[in-house]
């Protein structure tokens, strides 16, 4: 198992290098000149050129890229073009906020999705089933920014229950952004839970459990749910990874001081080092969450555990 985890961690390195390469190339293909952006419209051509030289922007892209990687390997993410502070400082001052939002959203979505999916499956073709799947369809189809705005309009502006913009350090300030972020993934999780539960409750071993005299409730909770968890945990993992990235829109809507918003601002100002830094963090998070999911599989399903050598 430990060997397996070590292998997976090593496998993350090429993934992250690949991500940086792609993002680096895209950023350098994008129109606009970082030096011009930094110096502003009023700077002379000479000043801009001088800065380009200083920042190494006149070298071939491949040289620039390898210089970036070299620094990255030394733990240096470079400096923000704008604030001139270290990218790592800039990111890590905001990263906890994003984690907080993503965790709260994951919690909301899992707590809502599992019961919704399980009950919908057990009470298939009843009103509750149709109702929860209707909610799920809305959750999947409705865009995050729109749902966020509606929540703000209803619960912050009209009812005044929650503050209009997100607040990092109190619970009330977190509710709306976390719900916004959670809604979409909750819907996806609920749907997967329902369909995998439906499949599991038709299995022979569920009938065996009933024939043993296990009560309906325990048949569902102790026999069906653990077996239905594999597809569900996969989706939960992907979604939690996605919640971090999904934070980009949600953080902007609620002006939440996390790295999602930092990323959007940096893309707009062509602040390549910060963009790269954020993307690297996102991809590390995503890979880690996936690794955790794969490890969880082993605990859920003994058949998978025996394959992790």
């Amino acid at each position: 198992m430990l060997k397996y985890i070590a292998k997976r961690l090593l496998a993350m390195i090429p993934v992250i290098l690949g991500v940086t390469l792609i993002v680096y190339l895209i950023m350098s293909l994008a129109p606009g000149d970082p030096a011009r952006t930094i110096l502003g419209e009023l700077a002379t051509e000479e000043q801009v050129n001088e800065l380009r030289e200083e920042m190494g922007l006149n070298d071939p892209i491949i040289v620039q890229y390898f210089r970036y990687i070299w620094n990255l390997l030394h733990g240096d993410l470079g400096r923000s073009y704008q604030s001139r502070i270290d990218v790592s400082t800039e990111i890590f001052s905001r990263f906890p906020n994003t984690i907080k939002l993503a965790l709260a959203a994951s919690l909301f979505s899992v707590i809502l999705a599992l019961p919704l999916g399980i009950i919908a499956a057990v009470k298939q073709n009843t009103f509750f089933d149709s109702f929860s799947m209707f909610v799920a369809i809305i959750g999947i189809s409705c865009p995050t920014f729109w749902f966020g705005l509606i929540l703000i309009l209803v619960f912050a502006v009209n009812l005044k229950w929650f503050p209009v913009s997100g607040q990092v350090d109190n619970f009330r300030g977190m509710v709306l952004p976390a719900l916004t972020l959670a809604f979409n993934s909750m819907a996806a999780m609920a749907r997967v839970t329902r369909s995998s539960m439906l499949e599991v409750i038709r299995q022979d071993y569920i009938r065996t459990a009933r024939a043993k005299g296990v009560s309906q409730r325990n048949v569902i909770l102790q026999h069906a749910v653990p077996n239905a968890m594999i597809p569900t945990v996969t989706v939960i993992g992907l979604r939690i990874g996605g919640l971090l990235a999904g934070a980009v829109i949600c953080e902007t809507v609620f002006s939440w001081p996390g790295i999602g918003r930092l990323l959007v601002q940096s893309i707009q100002s062509r602040n390549t080092p910060v963009v790269l830094g954020c993307i690297i963090i996102f991809s590390i998070c995503f890979s880690l969450v996936n690794l955790i999911v794969d490890i969880l599989y082993a605990f859920i399903d003994p058949r998978i555990k025996s394959q992790y050598q």
Binding site: R210, A211, K212, G213, S215, N227, R303
Partner: protein, 324 residues
């Protein structure tokens, strides 16, 4: 118990229908069966004849909807249709146990074998976790599996071993009635003999009454005291082992024996029964076997024959035979 009775199980006029998409599947059409204490009755018939449905009805495990069950089932003299779901749970796995057909899919893949056996013990006996685990180990040993393999998961066992686990689970609370639903069908022939021997011995040891559901007349000859031949959800012939094997009456039963290879004359061709079982959503008006019966008359096609006694316990549902 409400009354003393010699029967472990009585089924009276049992009907099971499934209402699916405006169609009605007639799975069981008035089955009556009595099982004396300590006796083994064989339920023999083709796939889809309603054998498993009968077994599930006794545990009241017919999914409803879409299933509709009518008729009476008495377990030790008590009508199970009057019991609450809670009372039913104390009967399942405790008074009545069922061994299911496919051992590959009948065990929960995420629980250890020992846990699955211990679960049924803890449900019905007031003992602690540890004692239940020990007893589950005893059960494993009884069916010939070393107890230290109890911590393993079903996927680590072979098919025959899994069937042994399923049997251990069914017997863990020493039930009075055991329903064995084709317990050897999924196993290869050498293992079949072992498992059958084991079931027979355990049955004797625990003094159980048993319903052996099978399509294999060889198993019937080895294990059963009485035999019920089921066709399209009805019993067409019932009698002692001798009645059925030596005084075969119903044309369908005759057909079943005709489909067996003859060991003395291996060059002889098999005589399969022509045609297929009728569609259970659209059963023939008269005798359900009449479309395939070589001796069917006009009466057979229009009027369903009732069971008539043709000597001793031997009953047959066929117009060719007269009461007496």
């Amino acid at each position: 118990m409400s009354e003393q009775t010699n029967y472990a199980l009585e089924i009276e006029n049992l009907f099971v229908e499934y209402h699916v998409d405006k169609e009605v599947v007639h799975a069981l059409n008035g089955i009556s069966l009595k099982l004396k204490k300590g006796e083994t009755v064989g339920l023999v018939g083709e796939t889809g004849a309603g054998k498993t449905t009968t077994g599930l009805s006794i545990l009241r495990l017919i999914p409803s909807p879409p299933g509709v069950v009518r008729g009476k089932i008495l377990v030790k003299g008590e009508d199970i249709s009057t019991l609450s779901e809670k009372q039913m749970e104390t009967i399942r796995g405790n008074v009545v146990s069922m061994i299911f057909q496919d051992p590959m899919t009948s065990l929960n893949p995420t629980k250890t074998v020992n846990d699955q056996i211990a679960e049924v013990i803890r449900l019905h006996e007031k003992i602690g976790k540890k004692e239940a685990a020990v007893k589950a180990g005893d059960m494993l040993e009884m069916v010939g599996i070393p107890r230290d393999r109890g911590g393993e998961y079903p996927h680590q066992f072979s098919g025959g071993m899994k069937q042994r686990v399923v049997i251990a689970m069914a017997l863990a609370c020493s039930p009075e009635i055991l329903i064995a639903d084709e317990p050897t069908t999924a196993l290869d022939v050498t293992i079949q003999a072992q498992v059958l021997d084991m079931i027979r011995e355990l049955k004797k040891k625990y003094d159980m009454s048993m319903i052996m559901i099978t399509h294999d007349l060889g198993i019937v000859a080895e294990i059963c005291d009485t035999v019920a031949i089921v066709y399209a959800g009805s019993i067409v012939e019932y009698g002692t082992l001798e009645d059925i094997f030596n005084r075969t009456a119903h044309p369908y039963t005759v057909g079943l024996f005709g489909s067996l290879p003859n060991m003395d004359d291996r060059t002889q061709r098999l005589k399969p029964i022509q045609g297929l079982m009728p569609d259970p959503t659209n059963l023939p008006e008269g005798c359900p076997f009449s479309p395939r019966c070589p001796q069917a008359t006009e009466e057979c096609r229009t009027r369903k024959p009732a069971l008539r006694n043709i000597g001793g316990e031997h009953v047959v549902a066929c117009h060719l035979f007269k009461e007496g």
